[in-house]
Point group: C2
Chain length 185, copies 2
Amino acid sequence: MPTPAKTSRTDIVAIARALVEASGPDALTLGAVAERAGIRPPSLYKHFADRAAILKAVEIGVLHDLEQVLRRETRGTAAADRVASMAAAYRRFARAAPHRYRAIYSGNAFNDPEIREACLFSAQPLFDELQRAGIAEARTLPLSRTMVAFLHGFVLMEIGNAFQLGGDIEEAFATGLEIILRELR
Amino acid sequence: MPTPAKTSRTDIVAIARALVEASGPDALTLGAVAERAGIRPPSLYKHFADRAAILKAVEIGVLHDLEQVLRRETRGTAAADRVASMAAAYRRFARAAPHRYRAIYSGNAFNDPEIREACLFSAQPLFDELQRAGIAEARTLPLSRTMVAFLHGFVLMEIGNAFQLGGDIEEAFATGLEIILRELR
DNA sequence: ACCTGAACACCGTTCAAGT
DNA sequence: ACCTGAACACCGTTCAAGT
């Protein structure tokens, strides 16, 4: 005789994500998730294989949100303007919730096929814009990697308080972005 | 009557670092360290305040090594050549031991004064080169931040297998580097 | 001064038993 | 079909006791 489910995969992921966003990945304990879901920790194994699977689901969700934000917040007509607004949106996404941002690209989970797919999905908006900008075919990939590397490195350092020498961080971002965007003008 | 020390802070850090380099931060357990040091886990607290203090010492050691490598492997006469060789050395340092690289800049430990100091120390070589290159005073800081952000982001993505679309990763690195170095030519 | 065993609270995970 | 309590191995950490 089936016991009615007290929770669901969707619920669990939402709870887990809230924990990660609020306090980082270490806060994602099965005890904390179970308590908020109104069940006992062992019951989580009826919904997910293990803790790593829950964290993976959170990461994928974040990557999907990132993709949506990048598309939604891209403005302008000129290619460089559009990419600049996308870069600004990327940075805003990271700054708005540092723990959430750090959850993605964490570890080398890129070997997992589902994570892989979600990463490509979230990188697509930039790729699309560069192609649309009329960049030479052979140059699109290295240029998009340059851009993503800069964005990822910059926001990681920013949210990690790695920019310590004072100065204007807005200016630093604008400088790096401008140097790269020069390739589109 | 004093018990002779079986180990030392230096020993412990070396053991901890070997564990981190071999298998990542999670492998740095007090049990594993104590076993290799020939003592019991509680005895570690006579040498370090807690696990975090051991990890911090490892991070600082890695940052000092990075500084040394950057200075030692910088070649050439022209400013752009020197910075390019330094960037290549940076990338080699990360690729040679991904877990070691990931240990630095991890979390937002930049608030800790000793980590702060070690980070600045390891960033100094690049800063020095940019100044030496005759960059305008006001431009040195944003330019060095652009460079570090690109390097950090790029090597993190590379060692995390984030570059998934095939293509030549060497070319991508050269492209990004060249775009930034154009500012020095 | 340094090391130890015993203990504590927590963690992820397994599993037989409940409904 | 889903949930549970009990159990296990592990983790970091504390502390009184040893030398």
